[in-house]
């Protein structure tokens, strides 16, 4: 790391010597690999399936650091998970930074390090990138964009597409819901909740690969990020034209998240996750899938949370713990805390 500057200056983005120092001393140092070190304008990539999956995502989270991760880790997990739930094996990612003038060089290095660490963990190679610096006030500290390419085997091409889903099929999730959204909100706002709510931010590709390697029965997968489980299930119900019935008592929710949602008046089903996947399969196949998931560190609390039903086509209904039923809609706008 270049010790001469402790803040990002406009010169770090102007294409000159300082930018090259930044790339060399920070990005190449942590991301370094043969493809990136070529420093060509575009990376030339070997592929080993006829079809590839391609996705992109931008990360503008506030605060940059939260319990369970930071924007760097999140930027890798987000793109890796989008590829993985589409049935792809994530392989390459690009990383672009938009930095605000005056941003702390030390914080940037922490973020870059955890980005590199998560990429190693997920076994994806950072093959290209870009850095821009904007005047103070023109962005909020740091924005990151990542794009990713994954290899898709023929047999896995349909898993994101929700085909052949019928009443009786089950919906599985790999653990507690709402952790990311509430951890970030707790870090951002001045609630001072003492409860240890930790983001579930994680790359799911290894667990998903294991499921796809051992089962051919996955009919649909999606990561319930912004908008939460409710939004994914509503999109699914609309697409397949069947109803979905969630069993409230089966929903895995941590005590801390449950209490925060209760106090702030949020529905946990609307809160964002960053390390969760929803899997749809036949009842019979679900047993094998659950076993695979529960044996993986990221799926210990996996559970069947809902069923596809022939009633109320296109709608998602929650069977409440008290014996009633209610409609679960997609999120409208941001979840806001209410006065009463």
């Amino acid at each position: 790391m270049n010790p001469r500057e402790d803040k990002i200056l406009m010169s770090h983005g102007n294409g000159g010597r300082m930018m090259h120092d930044l790339i060399g001393h920070l990005f190449l140092k942590h991301f370094g690999n043969k493809i990136l070190e070529e420093q060509t304008d575009a990376a030339i990539l070997p592929v080993d399936t006829p079809e590839v999956a391609f996705t992109t995502d931008s990360f503008v989270i506030d605060p940059l650091f939260f319990p369970g991760g930071n924007i760097g880790k999140l930027a890798v997990c987000g793109t890796v998970n989008d590829l993985a739930v589409s049935g792809a094996e994530p392989r390459y990612i690009s990383v672009s930074f938009i930095l605000e003038e005056g941003f702390s060089m030390q914080e940037l290095e922490v973020i870059v390090k955890s980005l590199a660490e998560e990429a190693r963990h997920a076994k994806v190679t950072i093959v290209t990138g870009d850095t821009k610096v904007v005047n103070r006030g023109k962005c909020d500290k740091l924005f990151i964009n990542t794009a990713g390419i994954g290899m898709v085997r023929k047999k896995d091409q349909m898993v994101g597409k929700a085909r052949n889903i019928h009443p009786g099929d089950v919906i599985i999730i790999n653990g507690t819901i709402g952790d990311h959204g509430m951890a970030v909100m707790n870090a951002r706002e001045s609630f001072n909740f003492k409860s240890p709510v930790i983001s579930d931010c994680a790359s799911l590709n290894h667990m998903i690969r294991e499921i796809l390697d051992r089962s051919s029965g996955v009919k649909f997968m999606r990561d319930p990020t912004r908008g939460g489980v409710a939004t994914v299930l509503n999109e699914l119900a609309a697409k397949i034209g069947h109803g979905i019935e969630i069993n409230e008592q089966a929903l895995p929710i941590s005590k801390g998240v449950s209490a925060m949602c209760e106090i702030l008046g949020f529905d946990t089903l609307h809160i964002a996750n960053e390390g969760k996947v929803i899997v749809v399969a036949s009842e019979q196949e679900s047993k094998l899938i659950l076993e695979i998931m529960r044996n993986h560190p990221l799926g210990k609390q996996s559970a069947v949370i809902a069923h596809i039903v022939s009633d109320h086509p296109g709608r998602v209904v929650l069977k409440t713990g008290t014996g009633g039923k209610r409609i679960i809609d997609s999120l409208t706008g941001d979840p806001l805390p209410r006065i009463c």
Binding site: S190, E262, T322, G323, R326, T332, G333, L336, R338, C340
Partner: protein, 359 residues
């Protein structure tokens, strides 16, 4: 979760529901006054556990819903004052005024900040001397004491740039007005949070003078079912009275400190309720002693009174005379993401609740 799970116990709810079914003979209508109660009934599906001779009507107890468009238009006008900071509870941010909302003004560049407590507004005012910090105050006896406490604190600390636009309202006048106007009910499921502040004497006239049952209750399904059972018992035996189900929170005398704060800071005024019109002595106005913190005194703005939206029957719904399904705008042109009327604007409004849970 302790203090929550016990009150959502399925066996208890079903046992209470069975008892209601057993003893309830008359055709009765109960009004849940508070938006929080409406939410709880639908969230937990309680209506499906009641016999068909018991009808529940939603009342006017959603503070966002009953705040007039004029109030929102005034808050929006303040957001356009040079240097102004609007501090608000999250509830108000998306509520449409006649042409805009605070959310839309924020996108245009207004400085609008969401608070969890009104006391945060004092911190913002201290950190931004020279900039007027406005707080549009909404809510009933539940939230009004917090606003009063902030005003008293601002005076104590000599904070000169904190201003409250008060749309605070009180419950008893509107409850009486509804009955006076001919809304046919047999009893009130009375608001727990309001009563925690006011105590229960405010309902005595409804029981003694109007012969209505009043049971103060909480917001969990066991609370509400028990309250309904208590009301059914009163009505079946012909002995309407004021009772407290929510004893873990509400005492007959209420919270004297909060009551004193309300009296110190506010006096009553005739106030406009969205959908209901003007109700005598139903609003809280900041007293002259605290006029320095009254936005309407320090920053008088002229905002025209907007007409009620065409085709909207919110006034009838807030009076319990119609249900959302009776409105031709419901779930067609009027939805939570694009609300037309008062009852759809807040998550606790009757129409929003029906839209969310019972469409």
């Amino acid at each position: 979760m302790r203090y929550v799970d016990e009150y959502r116990n399925r066996e208890l709810i079903l046992a209470l529901s069975e008892e209601v079914k057993k003893i309830s003979k008359k055709e009765i209508t109960l009004m849940e006054v508070c938006g929080g109660h409406t939410m709880a009934i639908h969230r937990f599906g309680l209506h499906s556990l009641l016999p068909s001779n018991i009808r529940l009507l939603s009342g006017p107890g959603c503070p966002v819903c009953v705040s007039s468009q004029h109030f929102l238009d005034t808050a929006i006008a303040y957001s356009k004052i040079s240097g102004a900071i609007i501090t608000t509870y999250g509830d108000l941010i998306r509520v449409p005024g006649s042409v805009s909302s605070l959310e839309k003004e924020k996108a245009k560049g207004a400085d609008i900040r969401i608070l969890y407590s009104v006391l945060e507004a004092l911190e913002i005012a201290k950190n931004n001397p020279g900039r007027p910090v406005f707080f549009p105050g909404i809510g009933f006896e539940t939230t009004a004491p917090a606003t009063a406490a902030a005003i008293v604190q601002a005076k104590k600390e000599n904070i000169v740039n904190f201003f409250v636009l008060s749309a605070h309202k009180i419950m008893p006048p509107v409850m009486k007005a509804l009955v006076d106007e001919g809304v046919k009910i047999n009893g009130f499921i009375a608001p727990g949070h309001v009563s925690a502040i006011t105590g229960t004497a405010i309902y005595n006239e409804l029981a003694a003078g109007y012969g209505l049952g009043v049971v103060v209750t909480g917001f969990e399904p066991v609370d509400m079912m028990q309250a309904i059972l208590m009301l059914v018992r009163q009505i079946e035996s012909g002995t309407p009275k004021v009772e407290i189900q929510y004893r873990r929170i509400v005492h007959p005398e209420g919270n004297r400190i909060a009551q004193a704060l309300l009296i110190e800071v506010f006096n009553h005024k005739d106030d406009r309720w969205r959908g209901l019109g003007i109700i005598r002595e139903s609003g809280l106005k900041i007293r002259k002693n605290f006029a320095g913190f009254d936005a309407e005194v320090k920053y008088p703005v002229s905002v025209p009174e907007p007409p009620d939206p065409k085709g909207c029957i919110c006034g009838l719904i807030l009076r319990g005379l119609k249900k959302p399904g009776d409105c031709r705008l419901f779930a067609t042109t009027c939805t939570p993401s694009d609300p037309v009327g008062a009852c759809m604007v807040s998550g606790e409004g009757t129409c929003a609740t029906y839209y969310k849970y019972r469409r």
